[in-house]
Amino acid sequence: MTIRPLIAPPDIHQHVGFMLAEDEALKSYLTGIQVPGQRPEDPPIDVGVWFRWPTGERQIKYPFITIDSITAEPAYELFHSNHWEPIVDTDGSTLYRPSFAPELPEPSMGWGAGDYQVLNFLPFRLVYQVNVYSRYNLHDRYLRSIFATDVFPQRPWWIGVDADNTWRRTEQIGYAATDSSETNESGTKRIFRKVYSIQMLAEVPQQRLADAEFYRVFKVFISAYDRERLEHFFDIAHEGKDVPTPAVLP
């Protein structure tokens, strides 16, 4: 990379940074699942979790789970047009901020002359494919059952990310069964494979994107205090009229 220094590269050793932290959180979320042994007196079996298919030198022990990262795309429809926004707007209104802090000290230039500003967090959508492999019919059904009710419930849920002690909204967006068979020297064996597609919303602070002064949005915030001003905007955006100089704006 010779163009410029990277702004915030992820740390592959600590598993922190955009995407690495989420990968780690998902793996951690899925780790610890057990299935009952084949007979009541057998001990429960740990279900291993791997990124992608386990490497050749590992002994494959069923059942197990693999995680494929499908995509990390900007959720443009959730972006909005403000580059910086004041915590308290000129009309005294505040945008919804879950961590709004009323005890912030007075800015150095004084209230009214100075202000705190909040940079945008730009939402990204991470899509993962979680594959659940089993060799035994009842393990397949057991895992299908607990995934439907507990692991990937039929509503959005939250996965904790240790890297920054925050939570990621996650939801299941698809399910498919791709059972197959495997033929080797000991004969043909069934492999049950259930595929879950999930998406996780993550946010990247605006200042961590190169050239983030400009980014694409689907919806634009317009300070339209009255109908006349909104019609002005409509004339410009949809009717192709000239942009008036600020002095002419109502």
Binding site: W53, A75, V127, S197, E231
Partner: protein
């Protein structure tokens, strides 16, 4: 008993107006389907593994629903393998990553509706 007489011309005009609105609605729906199809084919052309299947992607209506996908059965199993992968092949998802295309189509539909019917009332 009082009565109101409505002229035949007035009724004809109203009927013509409703028919025009209906036709406009059909045109708008078809335009949006076409837009989404173009978006999807464009994405397929730039998604690894899907390039050669891009032109096979179709949009059709069946059982009262709009379907987008591959109708030609000769390509279904190949498409399934590309979409979900297997032990040897990593998945290259197309159908599960269309949020941007759906979003753009929604925006296009809104813009098209505004162009046809106006911006709506602002109170």
């Amino acid at each position: 008993m009082d009565s109101i007489r409505i002229s035949q011309d007035w009724l004809d005009n109203l009927s013509r107006y409703v028919t025009d609105l209906e036709n406009d609605g059909y045109d708008a729906a078809e335009e949006n389907v076409r837009f989404f199809h173009e978006q999807m084919v464009d994405k397929a052309r730039t998604t690894s593994g899907w390039e050669h299947l891009a032109d096979e992607i179709e949009v059709w209506s069946q059982d009262g629903q709009l379907w987008v996908g591959l109708r030609n059965k000769a390509y279904v199993s190949e498409a399934w393998l590309i979409e979900y992968g297997d032990q040897e092949n990593a998945p290259n998802s197309l159908f599960r990553t269309l949020q941007s295309q759906v979003g753009l189509t929604n925006e296009n539909a809104s813009a098209s509706a505004i162009a046809r019917y106006g911006a709506g009332r602002v109170t």
